[in-house]
């Protein structure tokens, strides 16, 4: 059953150095507040997992929290490169970053196998591409019934999954609506799960395209209003596209990045402090 706790407490208790951590969110509901808490607590040697690593992964990588990245698309959506990610891969700054690189279909199936507690998943893909040459977690397999050659990918079972959702009820059930991406599979595939939410409510209203994660699948729920910013929470706030564009020159420069992180992430108490801090800086708007 999920306990409602402070985010600081949840990250301190459930994320350990060396863990594999999946902070999932497909553009929508990205757990930004939780990522910042991991950075503030100086977690290190993490294997980061995410289909679409974006700004918060750029920040985690640039701050030296990551040893390895398991992913399928690493960019600033609609803007361009993740410069910290690129700097780590191209130049080994601030440290080298091991890659385990897949396609979206491969990653999605790895989570499904993980949530099903199966050792691997099969799909039709990768054949003829160069991905199997550089990624050891892709192997061909013959269907025992038809003899068809398919591709196998191993299950993902992160030590910790972290997602952001709109609501939890008082028993710790979690409601997510809109684009729900891979969050359900990430939570069910993981050993431990943390969910940050916009608010706790007495009961959920019926909504289109809503899913509910039962409390038994979650370890900790932390209330963090605006916790997905600059991503969005359907029903609460819009994506701040201007922030994604403003991130490009900050992420591009090592010095500017380090100063920005120092000022707006490390020196603030919590995520509310972070949003106050960047709102004070006109350059982000």
């Amino acid at each position: 059953m999920a306990e409602v706790v402070e985010l600081r407490e949840a990250v301190a208790g459930l994320v350990k150095n060396g863990d594999s951590v999946a902070l999932e969110g497909f553009t929508h509901l990205i757990p930004s507040a939780a990522a910042h808490e991991i950075i503030r607590q100086e977690k290190e040697d993490l294997t980061l997992i995410r289909m679409t690593p974006d700004l918060v992964y750029d920040q985690l990588i640039g701050m030296g929290c990551a040893r390895k990245l398991i992913f399928s698309w690493g960019g600033n959506p609609g803007v361009g490169s993740l410069h910290r990610f690129r700097d780590a891969v191209e130049n080994g700054w601030p440290g080298s970053l091991e890659l385990d690189e897949h396609s979206h279909a491969g990653m999605a199936n790895r989570y499904v196998a993980g949530a099903s507690k199966l050792p691997f998943a099969v799909l039709r893909g990768y054949v003829g591409t160069d991905l199997p040459k550089v990624t050891s977690t892709i192997a061909s397999i013959k269907c025992p019934f038809t003899g068809e050659e398919l591709m196998a990918v191993p299950a993902l079972n992160p030590d910790v999954a972290i997602i952001h959702a709109q609501q939890a009820d008082r028993r710790g059930n979690v409601a997510i609506w809109g684009i729900t991406g891979i969050q359900k599979e990430a939570v069910l595939s993981a050993e431990r799960a943390i969910v940050t939410v916009e608010e706790v409510v007495d009961s959920f209203e019926p909504r289109q395209f809503q899913i509910v994660l039962p409390s038994v699948a979650v370890d900790a729920v932390a209330v963090v209003p605006h916790g997905a910013y600059p991503s969005y929470a359907d029903g609460y706030y819009d994506r701040d596209n201007a922030f994604y564009e403003a991130w490009d020159p900050i992420g591009r420069d090592r010095e500017r990045f380090t100063e920005w992180m120092e000022q707006h992430v490390l020196s603030v108490e919590d995520f509310a402090g972070h949003t106050r801090s960047i709102q004070g800086e006109r350059a982000m708007r």
Binding site: Y111, R124, L131
Partner: protein, 261 residues
């Protein structure tokens, strides 16, 4: 035609309009972000109101009123026919053969329509680390047809890819068929200079049309291999007034909505 000749438009607008025209009404289309999204939404606003746009974030029948900046913008879910989990989109829809056409962008392409979106330079020590595969390999594999839209330049139309992220016609001829994929592979490539289609036998991309104003010399110079040209080279119809008006309106509304946030 004097009206059309006098009408001014950019090569990018011509490219988007030419790509939009390729989307038939009623088709199920898996849409990449950026240029493909622009073209398919222009198609939906002009001749193809009943096309079903699928984005890899899980939206089926998306009807965005402005262009999304990312693949999972809220505007894609708002009026969608359905929103499903990501594994469903890839397994039940794409892999199961429910997608008629995949509309892709690319960083680099070779003469057989293979695509690189992974690295420039060696994989272990890349000169440029690109974002990676995303949904493209399986779209290229399993969509019944693939249309690609990208600007024709020496650095994007290359003799040899540094990395094959998504398979087109592989080494040409029947070499794609040996891979056992359900989809037919690339059927058209739309650029800012014209249109390329695979040769029916060799599967090598062949310039079959030039946009008005573009020259063959220009196209050859922009291509990193010895470009094949169709015997009867066509000229694309220039954008109509309506196409331009709707495209510009769509972009202006998109711009305004981004400033508002």
């Amino acid at each position: 035609m004097t009206d059309a000749a006098a009408r001014e438009y950019t090569t990018d607008e011509m490219m988007t309009v030419a790509a939009a025209r390729e989307l038939e009404d009623g088709t199920v289309c898996f849409v990449g972000i950026g240029l493909p999204s622009e073209a398919t939404n222009l198609a939906r606003a002009t001749h193809a109101p009943n096309c079903v746009l699928i984005y890899e974030s899980g939206t089926i029948g998306a009807k965005p009123d402005v262009l999304p900046l990312s693949i999972g913008d809220g505007v894609l879910a708002e009026n969608a026919d359905s929103v499903v989990a990501v594994p469903e989109i890839f397994n039940y829809w794409l892999q199961a053969g429910r997608v008629d056409v995949g509309f892709l962008g690319a960083a680099q392409m070779d003469r057989y329509g293979n695509i690189n979106t992974t690295v420039i330079g060696p994989y272990e020590s890349p000169k440029v680390r690109l974002p990676g595969a995303g949904g493209a390999p399986e779209i290229a594999a399993s969509a019944k047809k693939v249309a690609t839209i990208l600007r024709q330049k020496p650095r994007s139309f290359v003799e040899k890819l540094a990395f094959v992220t998504s398979v087109g016609h592989r080494y040409g001829g029947d070499s794609r068929e040996e891979l056992g994929y359900g989809g037919a592979g690339p059927t058209i490539v739309i650029t800012d200079l014209g249109i390329l289609r695979p040769d029916p036998e060799t599967k090598e991309l062949t310039m079959t049309a030039l946009h008005p104003g573009a020259t063959l010399e220009e196209a050859k110079e922009a291509t990193g291999w010895d470009l094949k040209v169709a015997e009867e080279l066509e000229t694309t119809d220039p954008p109509t007034e309506r196409e331009l008006e709707i495209l510009r309106d769509l972009k202006a509304r998109t711009e305004a909505s981004r400033k508002k946030t």
